[in-house]
């Protein structure tokens, strides 16, 4: 348990980076760039977050809404410490559990048991602390003997089951959830929803990225509406969600509802 109160504090956070349309930069690009002709694969400046300021205290549940590309997932990754802010301050006090990008980071040649260990170690567990959790994770995943098999033989649904079971076994102080979690078949989805509800109750602070505007008032104490990398509005659910809905209705093209 942390000595200081659990909190997230973002002060005028900017995130700027450069990407190229082609991931690889050719030798020709290096040699002739700026000499004879303009680059065919020039870097594009992306200003993903623009002056985001947020303060979330212990006990609060913050929902983040906004269109695709508004910067919601990027904001979550800044809070998780994966992306360093280019400017501004990001202060996090508390042990973070991230439930996003569940499907990435598996070792496909290794067995389910091995992957449970790798993922748990990445979440900061030790052989001693995971000893009591491994069986619980295996049981929750319902994968049985398939845990002895390399992951390359798993179906997509089995992978999701395993990924969710490992990620949700953590004991978080700060819980970050990207709602794009589609956990397996119908029966497992119900179980996953139940587990998420337990996690939300157990976590002392939660930030949830979601498109489910109907569910947010039950889950969150406040909502931040992101647009083009900025927090457009921040406040209670009953104030922000209607404003966002009417903005979406205005933005919808004529006949879109048909």
């Amino acid at each position: 348990m942390s000595a200081m109160p659990i909190a997230i504090d973002l002060d005028d956070v900017h995130l700027r980076f450069r990407v190229r349309s082609a991931t690889r930069v050719s030798l020709k690009e290096y040699l002739v760039r700026g000499l004879f002709r303009s680059a065919s694969n020039p870097p594009v400046d992306v200003h993903a977050l623009r002056g985001v300021s947020l303060h979330v205290d212990e006990g609060e549940r913050l929902g983040i809404i906004g269109h695709n590309g508004a910067g919601k997932s990027t904001l979550l990754k800044v809070i998780a410490g994966v992306y360093p802010p280019t400017a501004g301050m990001c202060t996090i006090n508390g042990r973070i559990c991230s439930l996003f990008d569940l499907m990435v980071g598996f070792e496909m040649e290794a067995s389910g048991w091995d992957n449970i260990r790798f993922r748990s170690y990445l979440q900061g567990e030790t052989p001693r602390t995971i000893r009591g959790k491994v069986n619980g994770i295996a049981e929750f995943s319902e994968l049985g003997r398939f845990l002895d098999v390399p992951l390359k033989y798993y179906s997509a649904g089995m992978l999701v089951r395993l990924a969710f079971s490992i990620a949700s076994a953590a004991d978080p102080e700060i819980l970050l959830i990207d709602e794009a979690l589609a956990a397996g078949d119908a029966s497992f989805r119900a179980k996953a929803r139940e587990r998420i509800t337990e996690l939300k109750q157990a976590a002392r602070l939660m930030v949830l990225v979601s498109h489910d505007l109907n569910a947010l008032p039950d889950l969150c104490t406040a909502v931040a509406w992101m647009e083009r990398g900025q927090v457009k509005m921040l406040g209670p659910c009953d104030e922000i969600i209607p404003a966002y809905r009417s903005s979406m209705a205005r933005a919808a093209p004529v006949g879109a509802a048909a």
Binding site: V82, P84, E109, F118
Partner: protein, 264 residues
Amino acid sequence: MPGRIATVWRFRHFWLSLAGMDLRVRYRRSVLGIGWSLLNPIVMTVVFCVGFSTWTGNGDWRTAASFYLTGLAVWDFIKHSAVQGSLTFPRNEPYIRQSPIPLAVYTLRTSLGTAVHFGIALVVAVVAIGVLHPTDHFTSLYALWAVVPAACLLLLFCWAVSTLCAVANVYFHDTQHLAEVGLNIGFFLTPIIYAKERLVERGLGFVADVNPVVAFLDIIRDPLLTGAPSTTAAFVQAAGLTFVAVVAAVAVLARFERRLVFHL
């Protein structure tokens, strides 16, 4: 800095288990398994003995075989650290995008894998020297104590090389290919299959003087072949090179670590 080292240590179970898995996966479906790591230096040594021992002036094939085995062990360690090190960050990209742990964790994963193969090659060399020199089975064992610090220096040097190549490859994607080509040329410019004196005789002594690999060849090869530790000067040179390489690797990580995720 001490904080980063503490974090790397805290996640030791993560990189140790991944390095262990890399080794298991590498040989899972092969008939010989890890035997390939034993066989590889032996086969190369046989080829060099048959094809080059007279030409390179190494004389007796038994002496030449011991010479080749020790040289190949050191060279392969450095070569694989550079080539496999270049691929470290693309290979671990999913983890890097999920968790903000120090990037040194991933270069340690690569270095440990290559270090295990170096250890195997070294054991093959020690056993071979014992078998090939029936009058003095234990020559290499007399000064084995001197090989331990030498191998530790080499391990640190290779981790630094691996880290530098890994960062370079993120910004310049041809690093791996350049390293492969450069090291293939370097193999013939380094006294691995011929004695350092051959270069001096041909007026190319400076090639050995500027080649950082030579210091590591000396401090590992000398005790195994002669039963006496290498010169203090060779140790000082190897320690100096290791220090410079490690400082460069730490500085490069400190400079690029936080922004590297955007270039993957």
